[in-house]
């Protein structure tokens, strides 16, 4: 039984790592400040939750699991709030969301875009 839990825990940790990697790719590839914030925060919340769930399964029923649950609650509280604060700051400094049909830019297109309000 403990073996199955350990394997399942490991699987969840790998899923969490993959989600965090997707978040990082999203931050690099998305064209707009707001979509980048979305990518970073969504996948960090989900990625961190998966990793913590996996670690809870590996640790079994013990004090470590309780501490991991507290860490999860803390992450759930802070990550969305910081994403909100970031989006607020971006809005307050004048970044307008890009609306309308556009595609994820390829690298050569990114360079040709004039340095407008979305410049990093």
């Amino acid at each position: 039984m403990a073996d199955i839990l350990a394997w399942a825990g490991g699987g969840f940790v790998i899923i969490g790592a993959a989600l965090s990697l997707l978040g990082a790719i999203g931050v690099l590839k998305f064209p707009d400040v707001y979509t980048r914030i979305h990518a970073a925060s969504i996948t960090d919340t989900a990625g961190a939750s998966m990793v913590l769930l996996g670690l809870c399964l590996i640790a079994g029923l013990s004090l470590t699991t309780l501490k991991l649950v507290f860490i999860w609650m803390f992450v759930m509280l802070t990550t969305p709030v910081s994403a909100n604060a970031l989006a607020n700051a971006a809005f307050g400094s004048g970044h307008k969301p890009r609306i309308g049909a556009f595609q994820i830019m390829r690298t050569d297109e990114r360079r040709k875009t004039p340095r407008g309000v979305d410049a990093p």
Binding site: L77, V81, N88
Partner: protein, 358 residues
């Protein structure tokens, strides 16, 4: 076929991967011209260092590096570029040749010297086989706290730590003298309609700040039993106070913790630390020799069952001494970080008002 020796294991692989990431981030810091990017990258560098420190079996140091690197250091650097400039000027590549050559030459000599250092993880290296080993074996007999890093920091090397605490205090005084003790006259009150945009942040901060302060106290008092101690707790408490100032405005925070209170608490911390040493000297021992903290008559009165283990001699002096000096360190570190923050933040407000008057 390359046969790997048995000592190459998961820990070493993690170590190498994390160090490569550190190198990449360091390269990015050197190359970027925007100071804001350099500061954020430096925060990332500190975070990766913190993970690496956990892999290297140093949870106390990882704690400190995480809070200091991602918290205080970033705030202070951001305050500095707010008051100066956000970008460096483009430098001529020809001017970079001489420094690059010097650094390459010195680096080459150092790498040649580093080849003679012992292997990573060698238990019989001079660093690990003599003094370190003596501390590991002696802590249970001499001091009786489970956390051997705290035992070394607070008891075996207590005088060093007193010096470091005094340096932190002096640095706080230095910053306060140069940047001011916070805004002199009363700050303009925050606009009454803060707007609903920031309500999420305010509510979350109200939930988090007491929890962070509680966690700081937990880290402080569990420094004997697990990873933790006065330095980590001081920086975490200062992070809670800084968070309050960032969300609710400097005026609210300075109303709660005026700058003269911060200064007095900082000096009180150093006073407590040195005072413990003097009390030990009065009772007949050396400076900071905690075995002499209580006079023998007092120590005989303390019942042995309080600590729960009657099998070996209770180290009352050591436990009490470590507790007191860690409190001193907590007070000094917290108050110094708060003073530094007030210095940088207060300057901005002063400048802004002076600009507005012109």
């Amino acid at each position: 076929m390359i046969t790997l020796p048995a000592s190459i294991n998961a820990s070493l692989v993690l170590d190498i991967v994390l160090l490569v990431m550190l190198l990449v981030v360091a390269g990015a810091i050197v190359r970027t011209r925007s100071l804001l990017a350099a500061i954020i990258l430096f925060g990332v560098y500190s975070m990766i260092s913190a993970i690496w420190l956990v892999v290297m079996d140093a949870p106390d140091v990882a704690f400190t590096e995480a809070v200091v690197g991602a918290g205080i250091s970033t705030i202070v650097l951001l305050g500095a570029i707010l008051l100066t400039r956000g970008e460096t000027e483009k430098s001529d590549w020809r001017k970079l040749i001489a420094p690059a050559l010097i650094c390459a030459a010195v680096g080459g000599v150092l790498i040649y010297a580093a080849m003679g250092l012992p292997d990573l993880g060698d238990a019989s290296s001079p660093a690990n086989a003599h003094v370190g080993r003596a501390y590991l074996e002696g802590t249970a007999k001499d001091i009786g706290v489970p956390n051997m890093v705290t035992a070394v920091l607070a008891s075996y090397r207590g005088l060093d730590t007193l010096g470091e605490t005094a340096v932190i205090f002096a640095a706080g005084i230095g910053v306060a003298l140069m940047l001011g003790f916070g805004p002199r006259s009363s700050l303009a009150s925050p606009p009454s309609n803060l707007g609903d945009r920031h309500v999420t942040l305010r509510v979350a901060a109200k939930l988090l700040i007491p929890l962070i302060a509680l966690f700081a106290l937990y880290v402080q008092f569990h420094g004997d039993l697990g990873a933790g101690g006065g330095f980590q707790a001081g920086v975490i408490m200062a992070a809670a106070i800084t968070l309050h100032a960032l969300v609710f405005g400097l005026r609210e925070t300075m109303a709660a913790i005026p700058s003269r209170v911060a200064r007095s608490v900082a000096s009180l911390g150093v006073l407590i630390y040195a005072g413990v040493g003097v009390v030990c000297m009065i009772n007949g021992g050396g400076f900071l020799d905690y075995d002499y903290l209580f006079p023998p008559a007092v120590e005989a009165q303390i019942p042995g069952w309080i600590l729960g283990d009657g099998s070996h001699a209770p180290h009352w002096g050591q436990h009490a001494g470590i507790l007191l000096i860690e409190i001193g360190v907590l007070l000094t570190v917290t108050a110094t970080m708060v003073t530094v923050f007030y210095g940088f933040a207060g300057r901005t407000v002063d400048d802004a008002r002076r600009e507005a008057k012109r």
